[in-house]
Amino acid sequence: MNYAVETKDLTRIFRVKKRRRRRSGSKGAEQDVTALKDVNLRIEEGELFGLLGPNGAGKTTLIKILCTLLLPTSGKAYVAGNDVEKDPYPIRRIINMVSGGETSGYGLLTTRENLWMFSQFYGIPSKEAKKRIDEMLEAFGIWDKRNAKVRTLSTGERQKANVIRGFMTDPSIIFLDEPTLGLDVNASRIIRKFISDWVRETSGRTVLLTTHYMMEADELCDRLAIIDEGGIVACDTPRNLKRTVSKASSLMFEVDYLRDPDKLKGIEGIQNFTYKHNGQMNRTLLTFIVQDESAVADIVSRIVDQGAKIHSLEKREPTLEDVFVSLVGKGLA
């Protein structure tokens, strides 16, 4: 059986021309950006698979390659068994893509007209398409915008229309690049619910989704890959990922404003450490992931050494965020 998505040592390097007009003779030096490096990934048919990673990790690049928009520099990528490089046409019949935060669409057409036109490019009989579009406009709560020109829609309304465009064609595999970016809580919830219902409604439907929202990844995804600097650093179910750090525990300290929190870095037994200043309250929030709780004593004494008072200490069950921090070394957002 074919995987819905499979990559083998997938690598993508962007060649970026530096600005010319240097004084010396060296003409337009080229600099390479490695967006993906030897990525090996297997997504099964029917999975709701998430990609989690910081800005610039390579998520969008991976999606573009799988959507046949961009060629790999080396390595292979297959969608439903078809090589993206050699056989893009069979792939295009069974996929669709939605990316958040973009405002694509023909401004002078109405929402319905725009969607109808795309449905025609997917060979959906016109009558059937109109019916489906109307149902989805209703489901996403933009039925009242059906006859509004796309250019008059708000960002969120356009985004919803784009999500409809993606699902309307009934793809076997859909790629969603931050589908809830910039949406309000309610709209995000509608879209999340739609995605998870959609993938379970009929067997064989696959979703590959990228997100910056831990909660979204945790709640939605069957499996997750954490990607950083073009490489996959972990790939498992959210549950198993959390289990990997469960031996460790997560400690949150709220202390007086610390001038130099980096001094806390070298303590033995700490797997990872992040901090956030809260200038308004004149406090600093410290988060430690520790292997061994005996490190607590060390931490406390170092904080006190800096002359700060500890206002609260909380121990949490590990969250996906902790997994992320322990793997990537920094938080999201």
């Binding site: 573009k64 928009l69 996929i95 023909y106 057409l109 036109m117 025609q120 997917y122």
Partner: protein, 285 residues
């Protein structure tokens, strides 16, 4: 199945083009941009040549030659410019190019559909220009003596040919960031000089004549003139001796050659653009 899908694409794209071109919410703007502009463009060129040539009599064969050449050249400008503009606009302004690109349609059919609406609108401009020529300038085109068969046949082949050149330009436009006005204007300019629009290609040096004979637009314009004014043909065009049937054959053969050439160029442009990541590139930051 594939036929039906392609037809659907063609109609969808044609419909889209029509909605975009013919901005029906403002018929005045539509008339100014889509009709008045190309018509006056063609007429300005015609009058310029009259002045340069020092008073070519309006009823003369030479004047009719220049006039008809410019009138039909409206198609060349509109279609070639139109197709590259479609790529540019879909990519930069509407950001829909990538969505259309990853859809299962044949991109050729999409372009043909969009170009189809350009042709339709250009036809309005050409007809207006011709009517002006007949009624205001006395070009002796007569609906009863015209060769309608030749007109319809060659107009169809000519448009197919322009659209395939447009497809090649679309492939090249994939690779360019900013709107590549240069490419289509360059090509249109080339055709203007080497295809016998305002003067017969026999006026060109030998290499230029060879070039002219290789481009289908040359035969197409000649065929248009023969169809509209069968009895009044300029001598020494290098083409006037060719029988209609051969003219059609030459047009068809060179159009076919251009068709394959443009498919090749489009494929190459498509591949290079996909490699460089330019299908969804926007530069308007």
């Amino acid at each position: 199945m594939a036929m039906k899908e392609n037809l659907r694409t063609l109609l969808g794209a044609g419909w889209l083009g029509w909605q975009m071109e013919a901005n029906w919410t403002d018929p005045f703007l539509f008339l100014v941009y889509s009709v008045a502009k190309p018509v006056s463009g063609a007429l300005i060129l015609v009058f310029m040549y009259i002045v340069i040539l020092g008073g070519v009599a309006a009823q003369s064969t030479a004047f009719a030659y220049i006039f008809l050449g410019n009138a039909f050249f409206i198609y060349v400008g509109q279609v070639l410019f139109g197709v590259t503009w479609v790529i540019h606009e879909d990519r930069e302004h509407f950001q829909t190019l990538k969505l259309i690109y990853i859809s299962p349609i044949s991109f050729y059919y999409y372009i043909i559909g969009r170009a189809g609406s350009k042709i339709l609108i250009a036809t309005i401009a050409v007809v207006v220009t011709l009517l002006f020529g007949v009624f205001a300038l006395g070009i002796p085109v007569d609906a009863f003596t015209m060769d309608w068969g030749l007109l319809i046949l060659c107009l169809t082949v000519g448009m197919a040919c322009l659209v395939s050149i447009g497809i090649a330009l679309a492939g090249i436009t994939f690779l360019t960031a900013k709107h590549s006005g240069g490419i289509n204007e360059g090509i249109a300019g080339l055709f203007y000089v080497f295809c016998g629009v305002v003067f017969p290609i026999t006026q060109l040096p030998a290499w230029g004549q060879s070039l002219g004979y290789a481009i289908p637009v040359t035969y197409w314009l000649e065929a248009m003139r023969k169809a509209l004014l069968p009895a009044q043909q300029l001598q020494g065009t290098g083409l006037q001796g060719i029988e209609n049937i051969w003219l059609v054959a030459l047009l068809a053969v060179s159009a076919l050659f251009f068709y394959f050439l443009s498919i090749l160029i489009f494929r190459l442009g498509d591949y290079l653009a996909r490699r460089a990541g330019k299908i969804d590139m926007t530069t308007a930051y």
